[in-house]
């Protein structure tokens, strides 16, 4: 039990907030501020723990340039159901984990205006943090699902108790939407689980799935044999499933291991059987999973919970919602949908891209039409998350491009970058809206104006963060957007042109909002006397966000160096899969008239 073991370190990172929540629940009655300070301290400790990965050479660190999973550990949780406590970090999850711990600190700092039932608020907030971190780190599908659901109840209460006037409606809508999505996800999990078979993976694939651990200098086969002779429960079951020498005793060994499922999806035909409507298992699993994740992203037309939830939620919860929760949808798509169900992803790539573009356009137009400041920011999230879906879906490694995965890599990297950038800018925008709402208690865009004169520092920071959201070059929003739009060009001209022109709409609604709120001669709304300059606490939250928005815009490599190897590796694998798939398809298809050259040559 020391901190240099991944199992201890990662568990501590995930469960420290939950333990702290339990302690808070048992503490005697303290002042409200005491509870807030304790929670803030806990979130800061968790943030420092996540920063610990940057220490090179420490027992638990995150090595730059390594594409594979790092700090992996794997123990049994519920062996009867075959569920493992299996976590690790790679370039896809690591930036999101740090983003989560970072935004949690800021959101807790932004929670000072909360006056009602502070103890309950802090408990739920910390539970929420555990859920979020768990989702990004778990590699067992079931563990993932459990964490996914753990977030629901705290979020329901955080919106429902501390929200605005229509909070109960917004909270139940959020809950219901996500629950429907997770039920679909559960069905997909069962489909994949019952068609999975660990015994079909070869030694190298078992190593890649994190089941077999290779010691220095040993080949995967040797490592597998060592593992089989070891006393792990899974190895025993593996032997049992093999059935010894008798082939008729051979049974499939099901698994929830996400990495193993990825290997099966890409290297075996386990998920190719037809089930319903002439579609394969993976087609249905992909659709169900994608709907579940698209609700979370959210993509049009499943986005309607988001404006309500964002508008009614208190400011810090809006920051968390936009900054972290939406990223879970994108994370799910990149971690689960595509690698496990590549064939379905390949078939449906255009559908996914179209959904992304429609979300971008629809979200931008909807944002233009809003008069509520916060609702406008909420719709801008719908629009910006559309970039993420589009970037993930651009399957440009096709036969036409000679299976060149460069543009696709650019798209996925862009999507990942957009998630990080949007995490910073949207959290900042929601915070900025919250600052002014705390003062004047309204959000009507048409009743602001002239804030620059009254709150110059605040206005400068706010305008900066809004520009980051707009995607101004030099700020964090730009990199992701430009990567995504560039990558689409190779895939579809139409989608590229539409997505590029969304930038104009984005500029439109953001500039218009800035003009109505911050510029102008005088403030037109009520409570003018309350417009005092920004406080130190607010400044301490806004400045790091602004700072990161600039850093990420100027020096994108500081994030890309962590995420790019993992993203590139996954895309390369999928591109290689595409080639194999196409070859298999053309090999099995009988030649016909339409097969152009081949058929023409054969003709006498």
């Amino acid at each position: 039990m020391n901190l240099s073991e991944p199992v201890v370190y990662l568990s501590l990172l995930v469960f420290l907030p939950a333990v702290a929540a339990l302690v808070l629940a048992l503490l005697p009655r303290l002042t409200d501020d005491a509870f807030k300070f304790i929670s803030l301290a806990v979130t800061i400790v968790v943030f420092i723990l996540s920063l610990g990965f940057f220490r090179e050479g420490a027992g638990v660190d995150f090595e730059v340039g390594v594409a594979e999973m790092q700090n992996m550990f794997n123990t049994d949780w519920i062996p009867t159901f075959g569920i493992q406590y299996f976590m690790a970090l790679d370039g896809i999850s690591f930036p999101l984990v740090v983003l989560t711990t970072f935004l949690s600190v800021l959101a807790m700092g932004a929670s000072w205006p909360i006056k009602k039932h502070v103890r309950g608020y802090c408990i739920l907030f910390l539970l929420l943090e555990t859920g979020m971190l768990g989702v990004f780190m778990s590699l067992d599908f079931f563990l993932f699902y459990v964490f996914w659901e753990v977030m629901l109840l705290p979020m329901y209460f955080l919106i429902g108790v501390w929200g605005g006037p229509r909070r109960e409606y917004a909270a139940i809508k959020f809950f219901l939407y996500t629950l429907v999505g997770s039920v679909l996800m559960l069905i997909a999990i069962l489909m994949l689980y019952f068609n999975s078979d660990l015994t079909r993976l070869d030694a190298q694939q078992l190593v890649d799935a994190g089941i077999v651990h290779v010691t220095e200098g040993a080949s995967p086969e040797e490592a597998r044999n060592v593992w089989l002779e070891g006393d792990s429960l899974l190895a025993e079951r593996y032997q049992e499933a093999l059935g010894g020498d008798d082939p008729s005793q051979r049974r499939p060994l099901h698994t929830f291991n996400i990495l193993a499922l990825q290997q099966m999806g890409q290297h075996t035909d386990l998920f190719d059987a037809e089930v319903l409507g002439g579609r394969s298992i993976q087609w249905w699993a992909f659709v169900l999973l994608f709907i579940g994740f698209a609700i979370k992203v959210p993509s049009v037309p499943l986005h309607t919970w988001l404006p309500d939830a964002h508008v009614e939620a208190p400011t810090p919860i809006s920051m968390i919602l936009a900054g972290v929760l939406l990223k879970m949808g994108g994370y799910g798509i990149i971690r689960i949908c595509y690698p496990i169900c590549p064939q379905a992803g390949y078939e449906l790539a255009y559908v996914v891209c179209t959904i992304g573009v429609v979300s971008m356009v629809y979200g931008a137009f909807a944002a233009l039409a809003q008069t509520d400041f916060k609702r406008m920011v909420a719709y801008s999230s719908v629009s910006h998350m559309g970039y993420v879906v589009l970037g993930l879906g651009v399957w440009s490694a096709m036969a036409d491009t000679g299976y060149n995965a460069e543009y696709w890599k650019m798209g996925v990297n862009g999507a990942m970058y957009q998630m990080i950038g949007h995490g910073i800018s949207s959290a900042g925008m929601f915070f900025m809206v919250g600052v002014v709402y705390d003062r004047v208690h309204h959000r009507n865009l048409n009743e602001f104006g002239g804030l620059f004169a009254k709150m110059p520092l605040y206005s400068a920071l706010a305008v900066g963060l809004f520009f980051a959201g707009l995607g101004l070059p030099g700020l964090c929003g730009f990199i992701g957007e430009v990567f995504v739009v560039l990558s689409v060009w190779k895939y579809s001209y139409l989608l590229a042109i539409i997505s590029a022109s969304v930038v104009v709409l984005t500029a439109g609604y953001i500039l218009w909002a800035i003009q109505r709120v911050y510029l102008g001669a005088e403030y037109k709304g009520p409570h003018e006397e309350a417009l005092v300059p920004i406080t130190w606490r607010e400044l301490a939250i806004a400045t790091p966000l602004m700072f990161l928005a600039i850093v990420f815009g100027v020096y994108p490599n500081c994030v890309l160096q962590y995420m790019q190897p993992s993203v590139d590796r996954q895309v390369d694998h999928l591109a290689a899969w595409t080639q194999r798939y196409d070859e298999r398809e053309t090999a099995t298809k009988p030649l016909s008239e339409e097969d152009g050259q081949v058929a023409a040559v054969k003709r006498p």
Binding site: V150, L153, G160, E168
Partner: protein, 570 residues
């Protein structure tokens, strides 16, 4: 076989085989008789009946627990008792432990809430133990007569328990409704039993299964004959189904349930929704597997069945021969499409699956409009019974293909029951304590409970969320296991059930969460005095509700027990 040898074998069967395995029931009988007699004795009125009942229940529980530890279940075979009237296997053993653990907890609850005060005590505890005795018979029934007997032994005390609080109109009305409905259902069920027994010439379930197999329904149907026999069998099956559906409160025989739950004290609601439901589900399993599945090797039970055949059956002579003839045959063709029992199974599966979907959906939808918490939970009980029936349908559908998977499905059901015990007992206990504290069972009066009784409100929230089936609370795992079994069973029907089950989780969210909302979000009303609960009440709630969280995080142990209890069932 002359009379003396018959009596000899009967004696040895009763004394050596059956009675030692019947200790739990005997302990319950003894306690009941003792409690009734104590009152007659001088000074007997001063003996607190709670102590007597509790002692009896604990002795019975101790007798039900396996001597050599739970692991002994792995080697426990199937043993027919009392010439085949009852059967003792791991399912019996597990469910008896389940029922008696529940009764022990329930007695404590009844004592704490003061439902059984000094004067009524004897009556109340006698009735509870009597009903439990009936349920124990139900879970081990192996004969249509014991099925009927068990149902009646469990039902009649329940009718009285519903009306135990004297002088309340609603309570009496509920009891009367329950009794009339129950009597009707029992009559129909008896008619069904007589039809089945008449056609098959036996009421002993394994013998009936052999007779069914001998009828060769697939062959007859293919040849276009025997339509009337099949019709009578189907009718008999349906009529028996009425009785079972009544006990399960499955749609369309659920009408009694909301009224009874609303009228009866909350504690009785817990009793009916947990113990009674568990026994009814066990009965459903007994009937489904008894008639729909022939064990590949029925030889061990042959010796025990013969006297039964001699005593209670009509046509004895050809049974052994037909058994032997079919023994080899079924061993080879079991599981294939032309299994003679596959039509029986299909009939059962389709019926149960449809009733399950309808019950689940209807229960969840009807719960929306309820303002009384007990009534709402009554509909929730209907929905959960539907969910549990899905597991039975999946198990019976799987048994023809793969015994191991069928056992997994049953293990899912047992897990469901065990978790359900804590959820529903906890919920009804909280309702009962709050009723004592604030004299109301309306959902709206729970407003602001988080302020006045934070612990109770948190526990209730946990239970309700667990009833929805969200991880990491315990209610999630059994749901998952049931869904897994349904997926494993496959086929259009089972996939439909699977989708319906999944969607019902989402449907049920809103009404459970409404109660949570009232408790935790709504401001307290001005007219209602904030309730306060005593130390023992809070402690009891904690004891019952905390497992919901603990088993949610660490379901390993319970799941293992459920697995053990089903491993050697077939």
């Amino acid at each position: 076989m002359n009379l003396t040898s018959l009596i000899d074998s009967l004696l040895s069967d009763t004394l050596q085989t059956s009675l030692p395995l019947f200790g739990t029931e005997l302990a319950l009988c003894g306690t009941i008789v003792f409690m009734l007699l104590v009152r007659v004795l001088k000074g007997g009125q001063h003996v607190p009946p709670f102590l007597l009942a509790m002692t009896g229940a604990i002795i019975a529980l101790w007798l039900a627990l396996p001597r050599e530890g739970i692991e002994a279940w792995a080697d426990l075979g199937r043993q027919e008792l009392f010439t085949g009237m009852l059967v003792h296997d791991t399912l019996t053993a597990y469910l008896r432990v389940f029922l008696l653990s529940f009764v022990v907890l329930f007695l404590v609850l009844a004592q704490l809430t003061g439902l059984a005060d000094r004067d009524d005590g004897q009556d109340f505890f006698t009735l509870v133990l009597g009903a439990t005795l009936g349920m124990c018979v139900m879970v081990s029934a192996n004969h249509l007569l014991t099925i009927f007997l068990g149902v009646e032994m469990a039902s009649v005390p329940s009718y009285v328990l519903v009306g135990i609080v004297k002088g309340r109109r609603r309570s009496s009305e509920a009891a009367l409704k329950y009794a009339i409905y129950g009597a009707g259902a029992a009559g129909v069920m008896l008619y069904g039993i007589s039809l089945l027994a008449g056609v098959l010439g036996s009421a002993h379930l394994p013998t009936m299964a052999h007779e069914l197999a001998a009828l060769d329904i697939p062959g007859q149907l293919a040849a276009g004959e025997g339509g009337s026999t099949v019709m009578v069998l189907a009718l008999g099956g349906l009529m028996m189904g009425v009785g079972l559906a009544f006990k399960l409160s499955a749609v369309p025989f659920h009408f009694w349930c909301p009224d009874v739950f609303e009228g009866a004290p909350a504690e009785i609601g817990a009793f009916l929704s947990v113990a009674s439901k568990a026994a009814a589900l066990a009965l459903l399993i007994r009937v489904g597997f008894g008639l729909g599945y022939l064990p590949e090797d029925p030889a061990p039970s042959l010796a025990a069945t013969q006297p039964a055949a001699a005593i209670s059956m009509v046509s004895t002579s050809q049974i052994p021969t037909s058994q032997v003839a079919y023994q080899s045959e079924t061993a080879s063709i079991d599981g294939s499409a032309d299994d003679p029992l596959s039509p029986v199974r299909n009939f059962f599966v389709i019926l149960v699956a449809i009733v399950a979907i309808v019950s689940c959906t209807f229960g969840n939808l009807a719960a929306y409009g309820q303002t009384n918490i007990k009534r709402m939970l009554a509909y929730s009980t209907i929905a959960h019974a539907g969910f549990m029936m899905m597991a039975v349908a999946a198990a019976v559908a799987l048994i023809g293909r793969d015994v191991g998977h069928a056992e997994t499905a049953l293990s899912a059901l047992l897990l469901y029951l065990s978790i359900y015990l804590f959820m529903n007992l906890g919920a009804f206990a909280i309702i009962a304590f709050l009723r004592n504290a604030m004299h109301s069972e309306d959902i709206k009066d729970y407003a602001g409970l988080i302020r006045s009784c934070p612990m109770t409100a948190v526990m209730m929230t946990m239970i309700l969320v667990s009833l929805i089936g969200l991880p990491p609370l315990a209610g999630f795992w059994p749901k998952l296991r049931v869904l897994q079994s349904l997926y494993e069973a496959g086929g259009p029907l089972m996939i439909t059930v699977l989708v319906a089950a999944g969607m019902n989780t989402a449907i049920s969210l809103v009404y459970y969460l409404r109660v949570v909302k009232v408790m935790c979000i709504d401001p307290p009303s001005d007219t209602q005095e904030p309730p306060t609960l005593g130390f023992f009440s809070t402690a009891y709630i904690l004891v019952v509700a905390l497992p919901v969280l603990l088993f949610g995080i660490m379901p390993e142990k319970v799941a293992e027990w459920a697995d053990l209890a089903t491993k050697n069932l077939f």
